[in-house]
């Protein structure tokens, strides 16, 4: 079986966007704000990979646990220093969102400065790079393709297990539903929030660490892919983790394939307009069904035929 490189690229990108979208949605569920710095966490992962492979000369796969821990730790620091403080003094949703924007500006500038520092000290070109030559190969396939696919599937399964079977997952869902009621029931909301920020930051940084293995990366990549992440999350309903899986995969997959297809139809100039595709998804979802796939699902389950359809797919189990 031969998988064309384009399809591989689309699958790798879609898997990474899926992981990022899940994190974005989890943050929205527990903190009730869209975290605009989420894409920049991925940017930090990119530079972890760069440092490990180009500077230290190791395989980038060594850096992935490090990226997870670094991203999680940084996310916790951000939560403790900024978000938690602002929440405690009673900042509204808009104030908190602007603070995440400020964090995004800060982190992007810090990444740029780090790139300049690398250039100054190690004399490498660190502004736009790919790390394809550090990847391992299985036959003709670069290792990043199976690894991201497996990582994405494992993440989804672990997340489902955690949210439905473990105490912390149930506590997270309860906090997302109603924080005050959850704290009455004895859930330590502060600890749940800490855990969720660690998880989302780590996942985003891990996904970012995979990006330079296939795609051209620069310090601003993280700030650029936030549109795709938000489009994926919004397509999935913004308040549903399972929706984010479908939405993120759909947006990431179609962003690459649709660009290729449109280039074939209209000419190569369409490639410049690639960022418009997630933007198109974003606006189409907001205009047609602001609650995304979750809204479609609820509308379907309200009708008789829809109920039967859902019954076929879920085989009688109740899907929440």
């Amino acid at each position: 079986m031969i998988i064309p490189p384009l399809l591989m690229a689309a699958i790798v990108y879609a898997c990474l966007i899926t992981i990022l979208s899940i994190g974005f949605t989890l943050t929205y569920l527990t903190a009730k704000i869209p975290n605009f710095a989420h894409g920049t966490y991925a940017g930090i992962g990119i530079y972890v990979s760069y440092t490990i492979s180009k500077i230290m000369g190791l395989s980038p796969y060594v850096g992935f646990p490090l990226a997870f821990l670094l991203g999680g730790g940084m996310s916790i620091v951000i939560f403790l220093l900024v978000i938690n403080v602002l929440q405690r003094i009673g900042g509204g949703a808009i104030v908190l969102t602007i603070s995440t924007l400020a964090i995004q500006i800060f982190l992007t500038a810090a990444l740029n400065i780090y790139a300049y520092w690398l250039r100054e000290v190690y004399h490498t070109y660190s502004m736009a790079f790919m790390l394809k030559e550090f990847d391992f190969y299985i036959g003709d396939y670069p290792g990043v393709f199976p690894v991201t696919l497996i990582l994405c599937i494992v993440t989804v399964i672990l997340l489902h297990y955690m949210l439905t079977r473990t105490r912390i997952g149930v506590a997270m869902r309860a906090t997302a539903e109603d924080p005050e009621l959850a704290s009455v029931l004895g859930i330590n909301i502060y600890r749940v929030q800490l855990f969720s920020w660690f998880l989302t930051g780590g996942m985003a940084c891990l996904a970012g660490a995979f990006l330079p293995l296939w795609f051209q990366s620069s310090p601003t990549t993280g700030a650029a892919i936030i549109t795709s992440i938000m489009a994926g999350s919004l397509l999935g309903g913004f308040e549903n983790v399972y929706g984010a899986i479908v939405g993120g995969f759909g947006v990431g997959f179609s962003e690459i394939l649709l660009t290729y297809w449109l280039q074939g139809v209209f000419g190569s100039w369409v490639g410049e307009y690639r960022p418009l595709i997630p933007m198109f998804f974003l606006i189409a979802v907001l205009l047609l069904e602001p609650r995304g796939l979750q809204g479609v699902y609820e509308r379907l389950s309200a009708t008789k035929t829809g109920e039967r359809l859902i019954g076929i797919f879920s085989r009688g189990r109740s899907v929440s």
Partner: protein, 390 residues
């Protein structure tokens, strides 16, 4: 500032140039920041798309006014180099503008002034139109959805400007006609003076609107939109009107910025420059009052311009471009201000309308003619013209 007005071109150097620069950018950004204060500070509409509206103003100058100027000059009998294809539009632009058009505008001041007025009028309309389009997807939804859509739109407008050379010359940029060619003195000074004058006019427009019943309605929407909707007001319509109106005013800043540099390129209109810095000004000064906006704008503009002016000094110590240091400063300041001074340097005062018996209003039922309320100013109160006391 005042003694600078009469000086000749090229005479302004060193620190005098810095003052002109600060005055110009204060005028430009105070328009954006006041429009933002009108939207976010008073009506609670978080407009994160200021950069789009500014870029619309700049594109109006480069795409519409420039073609009109060329047409006027050609019908006056001066032969221009061809400018119809993409290549000619960018390649012949410098000769067309600097050698052929600007001398004509120097001899015909009325044409130049009417071109300035024309581009401002068109930018007002186009900016309002873009504001309406931007409001379509998410104005009905939660504020965070609106922010998401508006932020992503800033990049979109830049992509269009970058890839369609007919708008603003793509990545190379185009020179625009100098509408102040007739002025014997320094062009920067007259642009700064005109920008400040327009800023003043915009300030009076916003102030009048905020003191009207509509302004009180806006504040009511910011405080609790459910209550406002329950008494029969069209909340979505009012929010959309506010966004559209303020978008038009914001586009004026783009026009003036284009004429100040005599050059339009999309890279000059990044969302960091035209969205995040005005937001910092608003939050630093204090959302909800115009005095705070002025103070925040003056502080931030002076800080940024001085950093750029003494760039050589910083470059000795830094190994990276100074703009990243500015970004770090922006992010840190925004968060520090939000944590330590949530209501800004000048907090918003409660709306007090003279002539309304607030004390009795709480205790018993009093009939108040709210439409006539602002006029019912008691004798001995501070006079109307003391606008800074508002």
């Amino acid at each position: 500032m005042i003694e600078l007005i009469g000086t000749l071109a090229g005479e302004i150097t060193g620190e005098a140039r810095l003052i002109v620069d600060i005055a110009m950018f204060f005028g430009l950004l105070v328009i954006v920041a006041m429009a933002l204060n009108f939207q976010y500070g008073n009506a609670g509409v978080p407009n994160m798309g200021c950069a789009v509206q500014v870029i619309v103003g700049a594109f109006t100058v480069s795409a519409i006014t420039m073609r009109l100027t060329f047409w006027i000059v050609e019908s006056a009998g001066i032969k221009l180099l061809p400018y119809y294809s993409d290549f000619d539009w960018v390649y012949n632009n410098q000769i067309n503008v600097h050698v052929l058009v600007n001398p004509y505008l120097k001899e015909h001041p009325m044409v130049a002034i009417s071109l300035l007025l024309f581009s401002m009028a068109v930018a007002l309309v186009l900016g309002a139109f873009i504001g309406w389009i931007m409001s379509l997807p998410a104005i009905r939804l939660k504020a965070t959805y609106l922010m998401i859509v508006l932020i992503t739109m800033a990049d979109t407008s830049q992509i269009f400007g970058r890839n369609i050379p007919k708008i603003s010359g793509g990545t190379l940029g185009v020179f625009v006609p100098n509408v102040f060619a007739w002025y014997p003195g320094d062009r920067g000074v007259i642009t700064a003076v005109i920008t400040l004058a327009i800023g003043l006019v915009a300030f009076f427009i916003f102030r009048t609107m905020l003191n009207s019943p509509y302004g009180r309605l806006m504040r009511a929407i910011r405080e609790n939109e459910v209550t406002v909707a329950s008494v029969g007001k069209n909340v979505v319509g009012i929010r959309r009107n506010i966004l559209v109106f303020a978008s038009g005013i914001t586009a004026l800043a783009g026009v003036l910025n284009a004429f100040y540099f005599s050059f339009v390129v999309e890279a000059n209109y990044q969302r960091a420059w035209w969205t995040y810095w005005p937001w910092l000004m608003l939050i630093l000064g204090g959302p909800g009052n115009n005095a705070g906006t002025f103070l925040g704008c003056a502080l931030v503009v002076a800080m940024r311009r001085i950093i750029i002016y003494y760039k050589w000094f910083f470059d000795q110590y830094f190994f990276f471009p100074i703009s990243y240091f500015e970004d770090i400063l922006l992010g840190t300041l925004l968060i520090v201000v939000m944590i330590f001074r949530p209501s800004g340097l000048i907090p918003e005062k409660l709306l007090y309308i003279p002539g309304v018996p607030y004390g009795r209003l709480v205790r018993e039922e009093v009939k108040v003619d709210w439409r006539k309320a602002p006029r019912a100013r008691a004798a001995g109160e501070k006079p109307r013209w003391m606008f800074w006391k508002r």
